[in-house]
């Protein structure tokens, strides 16, 4: 694991009107590392991710990207830095095929007309670089793909544009056992490509199997940011999620909501 974080969020605060959603939250994401972001519903995971993605700009705090302080005020800022978020609803057009979806909004053209050949080629290269082997043809319509394959396409969309940080919002929530396994492998491959991967998940087994680090949020605070080791257990993570602490890890003082 490299020592300097690619993306570092520190002392971030976010309020929606009277509701203080994020309290001095810190998060570090390293290149080539999968960082799981866990926490109960309403703990602030989604808000934190949306702040990083520029959908909800932060009220105070700093975001450092590749050693430089940056401001992310809108989604365009985030994608310009190379930060992509794959949301749970995937945002794919089912009536279009894989190539058309991957290049949507950024189509390659040649003399004003679409350059299908190059786009097809680059789609194959991208999927091959992720070792995706379950897709029969890049000209398949997304409506004919399984849930896992759709997740793959959505992730490939982030990879195609050389993203440096890819955050996945519950990528396996709707998947069966075999497909979950397939997506988990894909998450590891993203990290092997040197991408800083964020993973929001409610499945502790997945988190332990796939992640290098786990950041636990509890009532809008970052309760713990720990490395996953052999001793990291399901129970420990659940305890952190539900009470904000586990043994000497986590928030020690009482939290008043």
């Amino acid at each position: 694991m490299s020592q300097t974080p690619l993306l570092e969020v520190s002392k971030v605060n976010k309020r929606f009107g009277p509701v203080h959603v994020l309290h001095d939250v810190d998060l570090k994401m390293y290149p080539g590392t999968v960082t799981a972001l866990i926490g109960d519903n309403g703990a602030g995971k989604s808000t934190l991710v949306k702040s990083i993605a520029g959908i909800h700009p932060i009220d105070s705090g700093t975001i450092t990207f590749d050693g430089e302080a940056v401001t992310i005020d809108n989604p365009k800022d985030a994608s310009a830095l190379g930060i992509e978020v794959v949301y749970q609803d995937l945002a794919l057009c089912e009536n279009l095929d894989i190539v058309q979806n991957l290049f949507l909004g950024r189509e390659l053209t040649e003399r004003g007309l679409l350059d299908e050949k190059t786009m097809e080629q680059r789609t194959r290269e991208t999927l091959a670089s992720l070792s995706v082997r379950t897709i029969k043809s890049v000209r398949q319509r997304v409506s004919s793909l399984s849930g896992g394959q759709r997740q793959t396409v959505a992730i490939a969309k982030a990879v195609l544009w050389d993203s440096k940080v890819v955050i996945l919002d519950e990528p396996t929530a709707a998947l069966g056992v075999a497909q979950t396994e397939q997506v988990n492998k894909l998450v590891r491959r993203l990290a092997e490509k040197g991408i800083a991967v964020g993973l929001i998940s409610h499945n502790m087994n997945d988190v332990i199997a796939v992640s290098d680090r786990v950041a636990v949020m509890y009532l809008g605070r970052m309760a713990a940011d720990i490395e996953v080791t052999e001793t990291t257990s399901n129970e420990q993570l659940v305890e952190l999620i539900t009470s904000g602490r586990s043994g000497d890890v986590g928030i020690q003082e009482e939290v008043n909501q």
Binding site: E94, Q100, L104, V132, R133
Partner: protein, 429 residues
């Protein structure tokens, strides 16, 4: 890469893009198409079947008047207006929207053309008519995309609004004659036999070029045999049709022969070609399908959904205006009924019967042509059948508006049922 070598990564046996590399032979291509049909992706097959069935029925019942060259050319001219308005409506259908007032946009634009032609020369009149059509479309698009009113409601209001404008332009009960020879010849005119051959050969060459290019770029996904059969079929069809239409189709006592392709045929072919390029080969077309399929995904991909919607309605307006010129040219006049009555439902119906989805994101321009043929065949054939005495029923006038409306309405209902059913089947998968 070792883990990828395991044969059962996640329960799938096929390797990377197995189908992309593989050469598809003729048999596989056919069986792929059959399985697509089974999966509910019917495309324009129902329309082609309907054309075959209708031609067979009308031909059997009434061979002496239905299966004549004169009626064939007449039928093409009858279908032209509805086909172009159906193309117009298709632009809104692709977005999952609808334009119920497209017929009246056509009517207003035709009325502007006809009234201006009485005082102005041809070019400024045509430009003004086209501008008015685009303005009406843009107005609808603004109401839908920027103000946020459902297109159904906006265009329902427009039906009255535009009909009012049409009535003011041509005055109640009146009609405006068109005497400009070029506008009159748009639909009624014919090309000389030599020019007809030239036009159809150029068209064939263009089609062959596009097919060969498509086949070469497909990495073997389209077998050569399929491309060759398509080009061959087009060649036979074009040669047969051109030969037929180049034969004199006038009645025996007519002073002059009527022969050659109706002018409207190559015009529609050109419009069809240009719109096809726009829809399938440009960013704009791709974005149109994307917004029709999933507006949220399109928005997140950085597509300006609102201005895309607005522009689609503007294009719809322009095409409807062209359709209006066709309607007017066929009867050499414009009256308050131009584009009114059943024109609009026929146009929406033509697109849907051809296989364009009412739910957005699916359809081709060719669908409008095929569906337009179906909906023009029904009144054409029924009129020629005329009054018949049926056993147990008595006399019945198949040429009456009542029977025609019922048949066209039933065809539209059947087509939308096919659309809805194949859509739900597609989702179950």
């Amino acid at each position: 890469m070792n883990e990828n070598a395991t044969p059962n990564d996640a329960g799938f046996a096929l390797t990377d893009f197995a189908l992309d590399g593989a050469k598809v032979d003729f048999k596989t291509a056919i069986s792929d198409r059959v399985s697509e049909l089974r999966a509910g992706d019917l495309g324009s097959l129902p329309a082609i079947l309907a054309i075959a069935v209708l031609v067979t029925i009308f031909g059997l019942v009434n061979p002496s008047s239905f299966l004549t060259l004169l009626n064939f050319a007449n039928f093409l001219e009858q279908a032209s207006g509805v086909i172009v308005i159906a193309m117009a409506v298709s632009f809104t259908l692709l977005l999952g929207e609808i334009d119920l007032a497209a017929g009246f946009t056509a009517g207003v634009s035709a009325a502007v053309l006809a009234t201006r032609l009485q005082e102005w020369p041809l070019v400024p009149s045509v430009l003004l008519a086209a501008t008015v059509a685009v303005i009406l479309g843009t107005f609808t698009g603004y109401m839908v995309a920027k103000v946020g009113i459902p297109s159904f409601v906006v265009t329902l209001a427009n039906v009255l609004l535009f009909q009012g404008i049409l009535l003011l332009l041509v005055r109640d009960g009146g009609s405006v004659r068109i005497s400009d020879p070029l506008v009159k010849g748009l639909v009624g005119g014919t090309l000389s036999p030599i020019l007809s051959w030239l036009v159809s050969l150029v068209g064939l060459a263009l089609y062959a070029y596009v097919m060969i290019r498509k086949q070469r770029n497909s990495h073997g996904a389209i077998p050569r045999s399929v491309a060759a059969i398509k080009v061959g079929a087009a060649a036979v069809a074009l040669i047969v049709v051109t030969t037929m239409l180049n034969t004199n189709r006038a009645f025996g006592r007519a002073p002059e022969p009527i022969q050659g392709l109706p002018t409207v045929v190559p015009i529609i072919a050109i419009i069809l070609f240009l719109l096809n390029v726009l829809l399938t080969r440009t960013k704009y077309g791709r974005h149109l399908y994307a917004v029709g399929g999933n507006p949220e995904a399109a928005r997140r991909a950085g597509i300006n959904v609102a201005s895309l919607r607005l522009s689609a309605f503007a294009i719809c307006g322009l095409l409807a205006g062209i359709g209006g010129a066709f309607l007017a040219s066929r009867v050499n006049s414009v009256d308050p009924n131009t584009g009114a009555n059943d024109t609009l439902l026929l146009a929406v119906g033509a697109a849907v019967i051809g296989g364009t989805s009412l739910f957005g994101g699916q359809g081709r321009m060719l669908n409008a042509v095929l569906g337009g043929f179906v909906l023009a065949l029904i009144p054409n054939g029924l009129t020629l059948i005329g009054k018949q005495v049926l056993p147990l029923w008595g006399e019945i006038d198949f040429g009456s508006s009542g029977i025609k409306f019922i048949c066209a309405g039933a065809a539209l209902l059947i087509a939308s049922s096919v659309d809805a059913l194949s859509r739900s089947q597609g989702q179950v998968r």
